[in-house]
């Protein structure tokens, strides 16, 4: 399966989904004009990935500074896909990385974490960024 790599722009995050090493990363700010259009290929890839892959652990590293409201909705869909996969026997570890001074990012991570049952979700505080 091909990796999915999307370079960051001013209004969209860097995305690097590495199928072989089972590491999925999203990093940066997300406020594209049309978030569902932007994230559609990401969801598509994820669904294919979980359909084709073994249940060996997948690591998801998220390092988000800003999500506009439609991007947050897109992230809910993303977590739905992860949760579904975990429910079906995949092991999914999410690392939600946030700056020690960024209470907004921390709260956002906590909110996403609340709805997850099968995905293991770690809040990772980053110091001295």
């Amino acid at each position: 399966m091909d990796n999915l790599i999307v370079e960051a722009t001013k209004s969209s995050p860097w995305i690097c989904f590495d199928a072989e090493n089972r590491i999925l990363e999203i990093k940066g700010k997300s406020y594209p004009e049309n978030a569902s259009e932007f994230f559609a290929p990401v969801f598509e890839w994820l669904k294919k990935y979980f359909a084709s892959t073994q249940t060996a652990p997948t690591e998801v590293n998220l390092d988000i500074i800003y999500l506009n409201s439609s991007s947050s909705k897109a992230f809910l869909v993303l977590f739905d896909i992860l949760e579904q996969a975990a429910r079906n026997g995949h092991t999914v570890h999410v690392n939600w990385r946030y700056d020690e001074d960024d209470e907004t990012a921390l709260e956002l991570g906590e909110e996403f974490m609340e709805d997850l049952e099968f995905v293991s979700f770690n809040l990772v505080k980053i110091q001295d960024r």
């Binding site: 700010k29 406020y31 569902s36 500074i65 800003y66 506009n68 409201s69 439609s70 909705k73 809910l76 700056d99 001074d101 960024d102 209470e103 907004t104 990012a105 709260e107 909110e111 960024r129």
Partner: protein
């Protein structure tokens, strides 16, 4: 003498300029003439050398030596280059009718550069025209949206004191605030619809009208019920009841019902909080996390009413997340709710108009050179 003349001619052939030859006293007339002609040649050569050197260095203002046959082909080049310079200056001023028809291959390159400039200019013009149409249309949309905002005179008559910040990211806003006087008090609401700009603006129109419709249907005394009904009406209006629906748009909202007779404020929130001051501290009512109208919003969800006994010293605030999420500061992080609450604690005793300008200034300072990422709305009021 012949030897001197030979040396002079030899030096000329090597590109050097010899000094003029002085005829000796005993020379015959022929020899004197030969000296004069050689000296004229040296002079003509020296002039030509200076001229061509300057020309070679690109100095087109060089003096052109008159009646000098050695340089006649360069004179043509000199005048062509001067003309070309003038033409290029004309092009720089925007005259794209210039063509070059000398200088061979260079002319072709120059002319095709002009053609591509013409093409760019046409594209730029079309882009400018499209942009100015879009901007005019956006400004008109803004006029409509502004007239959809509450009448500030009506608010002033009802409220002790108030302010609002309504600051769209892109001319029109996905944020809306709402006010309605009632016989025994008033309703006030802040809404944050998905998106900003045109899509956000369209959402505010649907949200505002839907809220009015719901108030007509279920009355204004039970904010939680209003939110519940609004959730379902929005989902129906946007055809978002089915999981396959194409769109997933909705809004966050905070709604306060103030009953002056009972001295009571009742708040229900969907993703928007109510802050209020009491005894020098800022308190908050979180409301519910459930957003309204989205495909993913639960249609059965029951929102919660929170009531507070009114005190004349209390100040109330509702805001959209455009303020608290705005990126800025030394680390490029969100402003944050804690900083916002801290700021309210510092300023809540100021007159409302003063609070507005402090908030605006603080957020602008924090934002610094970052772009405004979302619509910003804050409403503050005293009952």
């Amino acid at each position: 003498m012949i030897g001197e003349i030979r040396d002079a001619l030899d030096r000329l052939l090597h590109g050097e300029v010899p000094s003029p030859i002085v005829p000796a006293a005993g020379d015959d007339d022929d020899m004197a003439q030969l000296c004069r002609v050689t000296n004229s040649l040296i002079e003509a050569f020296a002039d030509a050398h200076d001229f061509v050197t300057a020309l070679g260095q690109g100095n087109l203002d060089v003096h052109v030596p008159p009646r000098n046959l050695l340089i006649s082909p360069y004179k043509q080049l000199h005048s062509n280059l001067r003309h070309l310079t003038w033409q290029t200056q004309q092009v720089a001023k925007g005259d794209l009718s210039q063509r070059v028809d000398f200088l061979g291959e260079f002319s072709e390159a120059f002319n095709s550069m002009i053609d591509s400039l013409k093409e760019k200019k046409r594209a730029e013009h079309a882009l400018k025209e499209a942009n100015s149409k879009i901007m005019a249309s956006m400004r008109y949309a803004r006029t409509i949206q502004l007239s959809f905002l509450p009448d500030t005179e009506e608010m002033g008559a009802e409220l002790g004191d108030f302010f609002f910040i309504w600051n769209p990211k892109d001319i029109v806003s996905g944020d809306l605030f709402f006010f309605r006087s009632l016989n025994d008090g008033f309703l006030i609401s802040v809404m944050d619809c998905t998106g900003h700009g045109v899509p956000g603006g369209m959402m505010t129109m649907i949200a505002g009208s839907s809220l009015s419709r719901v108030l007509q249907d279920v009355g204004h005394d039970d904010p939680a019920l209003v939110l519940h009904e609004l959730n379902n009406l929005m989902r129906r209006s946007l055809n978002q009841q089915s999981p396959e629906a194409k769109s997933n748009d909705g809004l966050d909202l905070g709604l306060c019902r103030v009953d002056q007779a009972k001295g009571l404020l009742t708040f229900a929130g969907a993703g928007i909080r109510l802050y209020y001051s009491l005894h020098g501290e800022i308190h908050e009512m979180k409301g519910d996390k459930q957003s309204i109208g989205y495909r993913s919003s639960d249609p059965e969800y029951r929102f919660t009413n929170h009531s507070i006994r009114l005190d004349p010293s209390m100040r109330f605030y509702m805001n959209t997340d455009g303020i608290t999420d705005q990126i800025g500061g030394p680390k490029g992080l969100s402003f944050g709710r804690r900083a916002f609450t801290r700021l309210l604690r510092e300023i809540h005793e100021e007159p409302m108009s003063r609070q507005k300008s402090i908030l605006e200034q603080e957020i602008a300072e924090y934002r610094g050179k970052e772009v405004q990422l979302d619509d910003m709305t804050v409403v503050g009021f005293v009952v």
